[in-house]
């Protein structure tokens, strides 16, 4: 790791003022992407601003229409939350599928969303559920938030404070893991909402998470796994690497989408 100075603000205001003042500063939350990157010297911020001591970023709130989760909420807390499990079980299941127990004790929703790793799970939930990403400056619809590989609509120094997930009628998430890294080779989040169905795909896109519109249209006509039979995604625009080529990923999108719909349909 390259040397850095460490800062630990105790309020959002302090964090925002620090990032405005300091040269070459980066935020750290769970640190499970940033620290490995820093160890490899792929990142070397001069200043590290730790968000872990900011109480405004914690907590899960449930209203009649949405579940709003603080950015610093750990994956394990989302997975175990009674509110999340009751209102959006697919979201709790998704959180439970991230990494391993120790990683889930540390990794955060805000970190995952802000980092926008093309194989991360939460971006699929945000896009699939039409979530709103709330920052210290504004609210951003998920459709406008994820811009590409590790790229988001966040401006320099902007902090994700919470994510608001509208409660769907039904939702399901399925992923096919890379057997070694356990990251999603392909993950598909399907949600049936009033007036629309959304299908969000992670792990597969050369440009990060995306919506599969053809599947959405078919499922809008009839929300059943059968509606997707015979529909396949084009390998165009998908990742090809040593783990899986674009064609295999394209095939997996169809399989995971059908399974996600089944999971959503079988829920009581």
């Amino acid at each position: 790791m390259y040397a850095f100075a460490f800062h630990r603000p105790t309020s959002l205001r302090q964090a925002a003022s620090l990032v405005g003042k300091l040269e070459d500063a980066k935020f750290i939350a769970g640190g499970h992407t940033l620290l490995p990157t820093m160890k490899q010297r792929l990142a070397g911020p001069a200043n590290l601003i730790d968000l872990n001591a900011i109480p405004e970023l914690a907590g899960i709130e449930r209203s009649a229409r949405a579940v709003t989760i603080g950015a610093l909420t750990r994956h394990a807390e989302v997975a175990e939350s009674k509110d999340v499990r009751e209102a959006i079980p697919a979201l709790a299941e998704l959180a439970q599928m991230i990494g391993d127990p120790a990683v889930r004790h540390r990794g955060t929703l805000g970190g995952s969303v802000a980092n926008n790793d093309p194989a991360a799970d939460y971006p699929a939930a945000c896009l699939g559920l039409a979530a709103t990403i709330v920052t210290n400056k504004r609210k951003i619809a998920a459709d406008d938030f994820f811009k590409g590989l590790f790229e988001t609509a966040l401006e320099e120094g902007e902090i994700v404070t919470r994510v608001s997930f509208p409660i769907p009628q039904r939702a399901g998430y399925m992923k096919f893991r890379n057997p070694a890294s356990r990251y999603a080779l392909v993950g598909v989040f399907v949600a049936k909402r009033a007036g629309e169905v959304r299908v969000a795909v992670t792990g597969a896109g050369a440009n990060g998470v995306f919506r599969w519109k053809e599947a959405e249209e078919r499922l809008k006509a009839r929300f059943a796994a059968k509606s997707l039979v015979g529909l396949s995604h084009s390998p165009e625009g998908l990742n090809s690497d040593i783990h899986a080529d674009a064609q295999y990923r394209a095939h997996l999108i169809g399989v995971m989408a059908r399974r996600a719909v089944e999971a959503a349909s079988n829920r009581e």
Partner: protein
Amino acid sequence: MAAVSMTVNGRSVTADIDPRTLLVQFLREDLRLTGTHVGCDTSQCGACVVHLDGKAVKACTILALQCEGAHVTTIEGLANGTELHPMQAAFREHHGLQCGFCTPGMIMTAVDLVNRKGSDVDEHTIRHELEGNLCRCTGYHNIVKAIAAGARAMAQAPLRQAAE
């Protein structure tokens, strides 16, 4: 250099450290608590698992400075004097190790899983919960057996203490 204070195995510690110091380095190199191991250094293998404020975490992927004010428990903090923690005793009894390198992490993960899932955990749950702990001696079978036995022993331990 930066100052850090935390409680490790019930003892308050304060030190002046390089901000780059990982929690696992701080434990091993500053506090000389070498029971916590460094295996992969990439948060995959679980040899460095400790409890941070009561929850299992990988100490290779946390900065020591992020643990300011926290309570950390390492493998050295489990035993009660010379009496092994029930999970440690179960690993010995059931030969839940071969070379022993992964064992501290396995045991810290096992205690955490019993804390969360209760002492009645089945084999499937145990195997699934060990996803983040690798054993290169292929000793999983006995590790799983040891954890099941340790979990049951942990449920009885308070009773035994009360009887004494």
